[in-house]
């Protein structure tokens, strides 16, 4: 155990700062930027539906959700019941499905379905973008800088931080204030988000252009269905949600409400 009250001193070569601390930070920042641009470059926009029926299959669910969420602020009882019945029957019959004949069959294997394959490739690419540079840098740091103590924090910390700040240094008695090179890497990995935010604008700054042109019709772009998910199951679920809905309407009594809230006294 470190002696309480006594300051531990370790004689560090000042070159440690220039040759370890500095390079690690720089490399981390540069890889972060590189990764951002690589992601932007490899990012494929979500695939828009290719037929009208496919688009309907995607958006019918949103329509149900919209009805469920917003009916209370628009519809009176009669039109609500009418719409509810229509949506529930449609969901139950599979009227909104892309091909109603395939209903009830198990969903296509995502491995053989080209659309599912594409989505999975997208995910894989994203993950790779994170994994590969991290593995490389970590092994680089392990090979060159393992075991160095490079930094002393100016404030005391409890013993719990030891595993976080001193990975790679197996000294039990070392005070928690000292930071090892491997830990410095981890701190950078977790803590550079705001630096990237500063350098790259906001996180999605480079994506903005693509989004803007997509905005012509944002409604058509949304896809609530994940690849490999069976829309029929989601529909049945939504139908159940709609069925249990109680109707109420915030338009009831709105006249008194505005008179009370906005009208000057004396009217």
């Amino acid at each position: 155990m470190a002696i309480q009250g006594a300051e531990q001193t370790i004689l560090r070569d000042p070159a440690l700062f220039y040759w370890i601390l500095f390079p690690i930070s720089i490399v981390m920042i540069l890889t972060g930027i590189l990764r951002h641009y690589a992601t932007v470059l490899m990012n494929t926009p979500p695939k828009s539906p290719s037929t009208l029926a496919e688009s309907r299959e995607r958006l019918a669910l949103l329509r149900g959700v919209n009805l469920r969420n917003n009916a209370c602020s628009v519809l009176d009882r009669e039109s609500f019941e009418m719409r509810k019945n229509y949506m529930v029957t449609g969901f139950r019959n599979g009227a909104f499905l892309k091909d109603p004949n395939n209903r009830g069959q198990p969903p296509a294997n995502p491995m053989t379905d080209p659309a599912g394959m594409e989505a999975m490739m997208g995910m894989l690419k994203g993950n790779m973008m994170m994994m590969i540079p991290q593995t490389l840098i970590m092994s680089w740091i392990n090979a060159f800088f393992s075991g160095f103590v490079i930094l002393k924090l100016p404030f005391p910390l409890t013993i719990r931080f030891k595993s976080m700040l001193q990975s790679g240094v197996m000294t039990r008695d070392l005070d928690v204030q000292w930071v090892s090179s491997l830990s410095w890497y981890f701190l950078n990995l977790m803590g550079l988000q705001s630096v990237f935010g500063f350098i790259l604008g906001s996180d999605n700054a480079a994506n903005q252009m693509a989004q803007q042109m997509g905005m012509a019709n944002p409604a058509a772009m949304v896809n609530p269905l994940q690849p490999g998910q069976d829309p029929d199951k989601l529909y049945l679920n939504e139908a159940e949600n709609l069925e249990v809905m109680e109707h109420f309407c915030i338009l009831d009594g709105v006249e008194e409400r505005i008179l009370q809230n906005f009208a000057p006294t004396g009217i």
């Binding site: 958006l59 917003n70 519809l75 604008g201 700054a205 480079a206 338009l251 008179l259 906005f262 009208a263």
Partner: protein, 303 residues
Amino acid sequence: MAGPVADIREISGSDLISALHLAQQAPAILGQESGSGFTSNSSETADYYARLEQLLLACLRTGDDQSAHTCLNRLSLRFGPSNERIMGLRGLYEEATAKDQSALEKCLQEYDNTLSQNPVNVPILKRRVALLRSLNRPSDAISGLIQLLDAIPTDAEAWCELADLYQSQGLGPQAIFSLEEALLIAPNSWNIHSRLGELLYICASDGDASRLLGRSVQHFSRSIELCDDYLRGFYGLTLASTRMLDNDYAGVSGQLPKKTLERLKAFALVKLGEIVESPSIDDQHWASSRSELIAAKELLNRQ
């Protein structure tokens, strides 16, 4: 740079005067931006292209086809001619510069061709409906729009257009249904609320007038609740409550008591008076709704 940006923000409304102002600045904007457009950072260029699009629309409205063509070329240079939105804008340009009926028919043919390649090209689908409407074929436009909405039922803009088309054909209940759908997508838009109120008021001449008028009053009230100085909302509230009082619908089966209606009417009139008299009335901001103001003044004089 700051000047044109500020101006464009202001003309979001659809009045001709500010569109004209903007279109007159076209040479300045187009000339000045040609050098610096690509070097500035990405958010600025995103802004720049949004402005180009607005400029294109303003130029087309005011007959400056030359500048419109330049805008269109710049946009398609950046986003490629196969971008759906660019295709829509190009279609708009072709329609606007079409000389005669046959040229418009050719545009329609073009749209059908495009759609046979990609049936979910939303901007083109919408242009097709608009073109059918301007060719005076409303029933075709309606069926086209229904087809579009069947595939994309979450598009509030299209529902509003459908309501407008239905109303122009005198199909009130269908128009009301369409506007309700639009409201389900955007439940807090006060302008659609008051539009629905207007429709209900218009349809109330036949059938169960008292119920429709009651709903009309509710929707006008809701639009006022969402936006407290909304001129159209107050105007409609005045008309609807007056008509309910005149026809003695007050107190009929679940309707508002007479006293509340009278208070509503008085409140709406007071507010209308305040808005019409308010010192900010001559602002640029009101330029786009001058006709509404005149109607409100006229209503106040009549009372």
